[in-house]
């Protein structure tokens, strides 16, 4: 008690050099690591590969022999991708809030814009790699399948179409990312994505079937519908304009709003 009242001698610490700023590559590396280092993250990533293999096997087993082509393999693999990749994007963002790890993340890197950019880059890297793996598995399936069936191997996906498939998957991931920054809660954002990807199309489909005016305007309004054309490739100028216009409303504006919220909101 009495000693506590004595002034303590302070030991001069060794002179410190000003630390160098954290490079962006390092933040991207750390964010990538964080996507894999939990059990759910690990299995989500692994499921990309598993789903690709399962879809290929299913196509081999169930598709009519004369319809075996690269397109049928790529199409089968593409379906699980459109679900899994956006989930990866959602969780990369929302876990910082839902798990409250953002408290540490945003104090170690006190510029949220850099962290969010790193998450976006990491997500896109995962997306590009996953799609590349999917294409490769599909190619393998196509070669093996046509050999088993004794038909000519058919490569019916053009390079241009492959590029638009890439774009469609990337837009899907961005949609997940957008919902992540907008909602910042894992269950909420995941439900949000399924509403967007599964419920809304059904509503729009019904509306389009009964309302002529909507049927004509659908491409401009329904981003899901507009971007689904990317899977088939060969988009007309109007179809590209559909993607751009509906994408502005469904993706770009919500993304900007979400980013602003992320940058300004309090992290608790």
């Amino acid at each position: 008690m009495s000693t506590a009242t004595l002034e303590r001698e302070t030991v001069a610490s060794s002179p410190r050099t000003t630390p160098r700023p954290i490079p962006m590559t390092r933040i991207v590396g750390v964010e990538l690591r964080k996507m894999f280092d939990t059990r759910s993250g690990f299995w989500l990533m692994t499921s990309v590969g598993i789903a690709a293999v399962l879809a290929t096997v299913a196509t081999l087993l169930f598709a009519p022999r004369d319809e075996l082509s690269y397109g049928s393999f790529a199409g089968a693999i593409g379906v699980p991708m459109t679900i899994i990749l956006p989930m990866i994007a959602v969780l990369a963002v929302t876990s910082e809030w839902s798990q409250r790890s953002g408290l540490t993340t945003f104090t170690l890197v006190p510029h949220r814009g850099r962290v969010i950019t790193a998450k976006l880059l990491g997500t896109l890297l995962v997306g590009v790699t996953s799609i590349a793996v999917a294409f490769a598995v599909g190619a393998l399936g196509n070669v093996v399948g046509s050999a088993i069936a004794g038909v000519d191997t058919s490569w019916d996906i053009s390079l241009g179409n492959a590029a638009t498939i890439f774009l469609a998957d990337a837009l899907g991931m961005l949609m997940g990312f957008t919902l992540g920054v907008l909602i910042r809660n894992s269950p909420g954002a995941i439900v949000g994505y399924f509403v967007y990807a599964l419920v809304l199309p059904a509503i729009f489909e019904a509306l389009s079937a009964y309302q002529d005016w909507f049927h004509d305007l659908r491409g401009w309004i329904d981003f899901n519908f507009a971007s689904s054309a990317l899977y088939d490739g060969g988009l007309s100028a109007t179809e590209w304009a559909h993607v751009a216009v509906s994408g502005t409303f469904w993706l770009l504006i919500p993304l900007l709003v979400g980013l602003r919220l992320v940058l300004r909101s309090e992290v608790k």
Partner: protein, 299 residues
């Protein structure tokens, strides 16, 4: 050094932090004391840039936190030991911090040893950790960059008595080596053992601050003598407030030095003379924060 300058944080019409200014100096442990909801955590979140101040500012060694190029190397922060991803292992959480700061990988193992987490504990996922283990992990994350400044919010929560002792020694050592330590608590006893300086906050306002010695002095003196009645009279004659308990112990609001002088002048031998520290400071704390405490009406 941490400087908080006229800091105010408002949420709508509610003022969580109201014109708070203080400095946590290097080489000292500064205790940030206040009842729950007094504004301690909000103030600390502003310090590290997680919450925007309405007005005022906070800086670390003269720089706003966001201007630090690699903050983990300069400021160790533990705001909430439970705010860790439950699905990561303890080792992984430390590895993320180590990588973000660009430190050698060996630091992770060193830190685990420093906070006494065993290798098997480090490989468990944080959802299986006790609060005490989370605190140790949080401390390890704060210390891994070997920072000069530590900002710790309620670090002793959930630690067992041995853990609290360990934490106290660790913070003491840190300050003795020239570091700045700011730790908050709503428990006076926890803080008064280790802190050199105290900042007491209630209802978002600072209600007292100074060195512990000053605040203890303000809390009064306890004095024993074989003739308490005579000494009591002498102290009263000197203009001091005196109370005598049943066992003849006198308590006065005067400083120990003043009491000694009065006793010498009166020719009364003392058997004990000390500041009323523990009890006195606690009373002061309760008194200072009475208005802002939930139990305030009853107190």
């Amino acid at each position: 050094m941490i400087t908080v300058d006229s800091l105010t944080v408002r949420y709508g019409r509610f003022t969580a932090v109201d014109d708070v200014s203080f400095t946590a100096r290097s080489g000292r442990v500064t205790g940030f004391l206040g009842p729950n909801g007094a504004g301690k955590s909000t103030t600390m979140r502003v310090m590290v840039g997680l919450t925007r101040p309405t007005t005022g500012s906070a800086s670390i060694s003269g720089h706003p936190f966001a201007d630090l190029p690699n903050p983990g190397l300069e400021v160790g922060v533990l705001l909430d030991a439970s705010a860790q991803h439950a699905g990561r292992t303890g080792r992984e959480i430390l590895t993320i911090a180590q990588r973000t700061m660009g430190l050698p990988a060996a630091r992770v193992e060193q830190m685990l040893q420093r906070v006494s987490l065993t290798s098997s504990e480090a490989d468990r996922r944080v959802r299986n950790y006790s609060l005490g283990m989370r605190q140790r992990l949080g401390i390890a994350t704060a210390l891994i960059g070997d920072p000069e400044v530590l900002i710790l919010d309620e670090p002793a929560n959930g630690l067992d008595p041995a853990g609290i002792r360990w934490m106290r020694d660790l913070l003491r050592e840190y300050a003795d080596q020239g570091g700045t330590v700011l730790l908050s608590s709503h428990l006076l006893h926890e803080i008064e053992v280790v802190a050199d300086d105290l900042v007491v906050i209630g209802n978002g306002r600072i209600v007292a601050q100074g060195t512990k010695a000053e605040l203890l002095e303000a809390a009064g003196t306890v004095v024993r003598t074989h003739d308490p009645v005579a000494l009591g009279r002498a102290l009263q004659a000197a203009g001091l407030d005196v109370t005598m308990s049943d066992d003849g112990v006198l308590r006065t609001d005067g400083a120990a030095a003043r009491v000694g002088e009065v006793a010498l002048a009166a020719g009364i031998a003392l058997t004990e003379l000390k500041s009323a520290d523990g009890a006195g400071l606690e009373e002061m704390f309760l008194e200072l924060t009475a208005e802002s405490q939930r139990e305030g009406a009853a107190a």
